[in-house]
């Protein structure tokens, strides 16, 4: 299988005077269409790793290759375009824009591309909303939805530009266990339907066990990496 993401010798050191090294020479390859989880104790460096993977943060040293493209020499605007076209983000906090409705939030990545919203695009947005089960509240402002609905809107939004990779950082950290279950089932469904690659940070062992591959981080190092078949 092709690798959609490869990281090589990633180091991350925070601080100028007091330096704290958070990631130590990480190497990792993620296969296209795979469904992965990253686990580890709080403070172990999971978010730092994911943000570097998603080009939101730059590593102190090392290289990230996304879809065969090395991001090392790309400038801020090139990275922004890359994120817009190939990456989808889901965070612990939904990060919807409160000024916009659910549907408008879902359309946002497409509008950022600068393309005109035609019937076909609208149809796709509505399909995604349907997929995450929000048809009834799609015209509500982001603030007029429950936590689960907001997170599902964020998932639909992350899918809008048909990204090859979705990065999720404790996407259900704020949700109850029933909703957590639904959200994971949903992500799995999307993974199967669109062959979208998922990298999900979770502290929930039960959730991790349902993924194809579990990567465990401890003190900035990968200490375990297991693949499994759970079809």
């Amino acid at each position: 299988m092709d690798n959609i993401v490869e990281i090589r010798n990633i180091k991350k050191i925070y601080g100028d005077k007091v330096k704290t090294q958070v990631l130590f020479d990480l190497n990792l390859s993620i296969e296209k269409g795979s469904f992965n989880s990253i686990i580890g104790q709080s403070g172990s460096g999971k978010s730092t790793l994911l943000n570097i993977l998603g080009t939101l943060d730059r590593p102190t040293d090392g290289e990230i290759v996304i879809n065969g493209v090395n991001t090392k020499s790309m400038n801020a605007n090139q990275l922004a375009k890359l994120r817009n076209e190939t990456l989808g983000f889901i965070f612990q906090f939904h990060y919807l824009l409160p000024e916009f409705t659910a549907l408008e939030n879902v359309l946002m990545p497409y509008r950022i591309m600068g393309k005109k919203i035609d019937d076909k695009v609208m149809e796709r947005a509505n399909e995604l909303i349907e997929l995450v089960g929000l048809s009834k509240v799609k015209n509500n402002l982001a603030t007029q939805m429950s936590g689960g609905q907001q997170q599902r809107t964020a998932i639909a939004r992350s899918l809008m530009n048909n990204p090859s990779i979705i990065l999720a950082d404790e996407p259900t950290g704020n949700l109850d266990s029933d909703t957590t279950e639904q959200i994971y089932d949903l992500m799995r469904k999307i993974n199967k339907k669109y062959n979208t690659t998922f990298i999900i940070i979770t502290h929930d062992q039960h959730v991790a066990e349902k993924t194809d591959r579990i990567i465990e981080v401890k003190d900035g190092r990968i200490i375990m990496d297991v693949r499994r078949n759970n079809d």
């Binding site: 943000n51 994120r83 817009n84 990060y95 000024e99």
Partner: protein, 377 residues
């Protein structure tokens, strides 16, 4: 572009109260600027009009105040050219006598001195030996319309003239001494058939009187003539007007500065309020320039609406001022000219300053990194 504009619009619409407050702030600034600007301009214009509206702007006389042969004076900038013959005389009526100044005016005299408007009784002199007299003189000599008055010059020439009108020249000393006639009447009394003692000129734009006066000087071939303009004679007024203009500009500049600071500080706060949104948008892939454009557009929208509102407020203020501040006779206390150019200028300045004020938040928005927002929740 379009994306940034629509996000800017949405951000402003979402914080309606704040948006309206900034717009009203800009509007008040603009309206004060328009009100003060138009008021002071109106004040100055009416002051100038009162001072030189019915007096010569340029006067040509002989060096030694003797008479000279008339010659034609022409310029498209001149609105009235009056050939005048004047001199002292002694006026004798049936009841009294007085020292007077007889001034004969050519055709444009009425236009320059606005005599028809100042006529309280009778008509303008049109025939030879018709005269009009000042109000004070009419009282002293106890004159009625159509009364005959005898004028005697220093050289003992006499002529009987008919009083056809009485004028109120507003200034006592003039009202008490002036007798006005057509040019030939005065010329024949003073025995200067083809000669005149002065030429009085009014010009379109009073402030060009000095340059026009210089032009005239160079054109005149007759020697020993003296050309003076109103500016030389009214230096105090001019420096007063100048001071007024400067203080008006100062007020407008300070209003402007406070508007700019107000917008800048409010927009700086909104960039903090919206930093989460900006971070999310950047994470989703908006380029840094689009992030700053959002705030520039906010400034622009606030400026445009604020300016439009301000122009309306300003016009309202001026209108109510002209409606309520009136003289007892019903004319406007200060006649105000709705100078469209100035109004548009004030509005544009407000838009421009709102735009400039949004540079700082735009720069901050550009610099904001998405990771800060995502890491800190």
């Amino acid at each position: 572009m379009k994306f940034a504009f629509s996000v800017a619009k949405r951000f402003l619409g979402y914080n309606k109260g704040q948006t309206i407050m900034i717009m009203v702030g800009i509007a008040i600034g603009v309206s004060v600027q328009i009100f003060i600007g138009l008021l002071i301009t109106g004040l100055q214009e009416s002051l100038i009009d009162k001072t030189v509206g019915s007096t010569p702007h340029i006067t040509i006389t002989q060096q030694d105040e003797l008479s000279f042969y008339d010659f034609e004076v022409k310029n498209d900038e001149f609105t009235a050219v009056v050939y005048q013959a004047e001199g002292p005389a002694f006026a004798i009526s049936e009841s009294d006598d007085a020292s007077v100044l007889l001034r004969g005016l050519s055709e444009d005299g009425d236009k320059l001195y606005k005599l028809s408007d100042k006529l309280v009784e009778g008509k303008m002199p049109s025939l030879k030996n018709d005269v009009i007299v000042g109000l004070g003189l009419q009282e002293k000599l106890n004159l009625d319309i159509n009364d005959v008055l005898t004028l005697r010059t220093i050289s003992n020439q006499t002529v009987d003239v008919k009083v056809v009108g009485i004028v109120d020249l507003k200034v006592d000393s003039i009202n008490n001494s002036w007798v006005l006639s057509t040019l030939p009447t005065a010329q024949s009394l003073f025995s200067i058939d083809d000669e005149i003692t002065s030429i009085a000129i009014q010009v379109k734009d009073v402030f060009t009187a000095d340059t026009l006066s210089e032009e005239l000087k160079s054109e005149i071939t007759v020697s020993d003539l003296k050309v003076i303009n109103w500016k030389e004679q009214n230096e105090d007024l001019l420096s007063g007007l100048n001071g007024q203009s400067i203080s008006s500009i100062m007020i407008q500049v300070f209003v402007l500065i406070s508007v700019v600071l107000g917008i800048a500080s409010v927009l700086a706060i909104t960039v903090l309020q919206k930093s989460k949104q900006i971070g999310i948008l950047k994470a989703m892939g908006i380029p840094d320039n689009t992030a700053s454009l959002i705030f520039l557009f906010q400034g622009l929208i606030l400026g445009v609406y604020g300016a439009i509102l301000g122009v309306l407020f300003g016009l309202g203020l001026i209108l109510s001022f002209t409606t309520f501040a009136r003289n007892p006779d019903g004319t406007a206390l200060i006649p105000i000219n709705f100078d469209l150019q100035f109004i548009l200028f004030s509005g544009s300045i407000a838009i421009l300053s709102a735009l400039i004020a949004s540079f700082i938040p735009a720069a901050r928005s550009k610099k904001l990194s998405p990771i800060e927002v995502i890491r800190n929740g």
